[in-house]
Amino acid sequence: MPVTDAPKIVTRRLRQDRSWTLESYLADGGYQGLRKALTMTPQEIHDSVNTANILGRGGAGFEAGRKWGMLRQESPVYLTINGDESEPATFKDHALIEGDPHQLIEGALICAYVIGAAQIFLYVRGEFPLALERLQAALNDAYGYGAVGHRIFGSDFSVDIVVHPGAGAYICGEETALLESLEGKRGYPRIKPPFFPAVMGLYGAPTIVNNVETVSNLPWVLLNGGDSFAALGDGRSKGTKLLALAGHVKRPGNYELEWAKVTFRDLIFDPRLGGGIRDDNNLKAIIPGGVSSPWIGPEHLDVSLSNEAIAGIGSMAGSGSVIPMDHTTCTVRAAWRIVRFFHRESCGQCTPCREGGGWLEKVLERIEAGRGREADLDLLMDICDNISPGVAWPPAQTTICVLGPSMPPSVAAGLRMFKDEYLAHVREGRCPFPPDRLPRRLARV
């Protein structure tokens, strides 16, 4: 498929000089979407967002308009923006917050106007101090400009925004854990039901949690109309999508592309995009939607990068992170590193996640170190099955949140696609992929 001429909805300002300043934002039509919003009724905007069909960009892909519609009209209602981005190989929200904080603020304000939010909290990962610095400076300026606070732009609408730093915990990206964290507690995901913070969220009040990229689309949607947004993309996947391409490509980076209009082949090989596999090596496998997603092989290169198409091949579009791996990649080591991440970040509330993660990590480590047994392959699948019965995707869940069930896919997909490689580790008593880059000393978890 050719790469289309779709407008850059969320990234067009990022290359401008000092793109994070109010000056630069206003020079490019900044806050016009909010000004327009304030002349409309919340219902009119909500209708337009429903028309646009903005799928949540945080990973779950839930329609933003539908989520807002779940609010019971009780007061107070809170809006929380999820800027905790810590999913491995996902780095799009980081770029959006650092590069265009006013767009995020404007988007959040539009959302707050529609849902009648009493207060907005921008939860930003603590490890992003530059993003936090720029966002706070942008917010200070936005207050001074009259875009936030009392009687915004002279209208009857008033709302405050607070920038809130996290402190290093991947699990706080899960929306109920995020709310716990925002309440000043340990980031334990809440037991469901209620499934949605829209029913019971921050301080027990109805709360909307939306991703940074999700609301960053709103200023454009206000100015150009929900129809124009829905005219881009295909099926349920409307508008553009910011894809974070990393791993073994020549040109890693963030690419905003019309959604559902490019294939994996385009993204990885188009000279204007990924530019091909490094050293022109062979492509071995792709992690198509963040490290929770089941891997796919090169036979799926012509699958479109849409929510539905990727789901159709048994994986998911997730957070929009795409990681191609070349033929020099040891898939045992790759699975080990992914599982190690989830094990480290498990909050420990659920036994299958807390213990299963550790078991998977240890078994993979011994296979990689050449101390594995053939029976370990079955053992791995058995542990996976205990964490997520059936080891299917979307996963069955025995745990409070989906962090636990995010561990099996890379193990199960690796075993399915590269069983011989696992067996070679066991039979040769060593990793067949020199040079061995497993750490000599593993950090204690």
């Binding site: 491995p88 490890e127 009392h150 607070v162 890693p252 963030n254 990681i323 991440f341």
Partner: protein
């Protein structure tokens, strides 16, 4: 013994005033405490507990959930090398091993001179510039072993003091305005002062808790290279 100093105490009180419940300010205040002392001391945590209405054990119990908080002093520079998947695919473990050799410590360790603490970190969301690391959470991308040596030399010789202050930069994130939505008559908002003069005054006066944050954002770290260095191309 270290408690929040008067300026930081004021900042803590300003933060508490921003939230419907004081406990929500706990983590932001702990960041300030940590940057004041380099770690979270018992006395400091007691003090923070008094401010937000928590027992010391609740403060510690909450803080210990979060990887960024330290309960023992750490080096002047905390070097976190990402070894997660995208960086691993680009040789992060070789970089980590090099760092271990160069500094003579294993991940989690601090050099004898108190200069550096090394960490084996999870994804830092700079995967387009893999392998990468942060120093006191400031980003450095596309780091090879030579680059690592040059970086640690610069740090040792104080050449990066502006960009990488000791113990982090979150303390520079300073809000200039209290809660304002309720309007100018709301006495619950912190004391007033005008916002920075360079800012176009809006229709309503807003209250400020102090001078606008001093930014050094023109000295950007490599994080924006994701954008600047042809990485955000698509098809311009």
């Amino acid at each position: 013994m270290p408690r929040l100093n008067p300026d930081n105490l004021q900042r803590a009180l300003d933060l508490i005033a921003l939230y419907p419940q004081p406990r929500s300010a706990l983590i932001p205040i702990l960041h300030i405490l940590q940057e004041q002392d380099g770690y979270l001391s018992e006395d400091g945590m007691n003090h923070v507990g008094e401010l937000v209405g928590l027992e010391a054990v609740e403060v510690r119990g909450t803080a210990s959930f979060y990887d960024m908080f330290h309960f023992e002093p750490v080096g002047r520079y905390l070097i976190a090398v990402c070894t997660n998947i995208a960086c691993m695919l680009q040789g992060a473990y070789r970089l980590l091993e090099h760092a271990e050799e160069r500094l003579g410590v294993a991940p989690g360790g601090t050099t004898a001179d108190g200069m550096f603490t090394l960490e084996d970190a999870e994804c830092l969301a700079l995967c387009g510039n893999a392998p990468c690391l942060t120093v006191n959470w400031r980003f450095f991308g596309d780091v090879d072993p030579e680059g690592f040596d040059a970086l640690t030399d610069d740090l040792r010789n104080g050449r990066l003091d502006d960009e990488v202050p000791p113990h982090g930069t979150l303390i520079r994130v300073r809000r200039s305005v209290g809660l304002a939505a309720a309007g100018p008559t709301d006495e619950a908002t912190p004391q007033s002062a005008e916002v920075g003069a360079d800012v176009d005054a809006g229709p309503a006066p807003h209250r400020s808790t102090g001078p606008a944050v001093e930014l050094s954002t023109h000295r950007t770290t490599t994080a924006t290279n994701v954008v600047d260095a042809a990485h955000l191309e698509g098809r311009q």
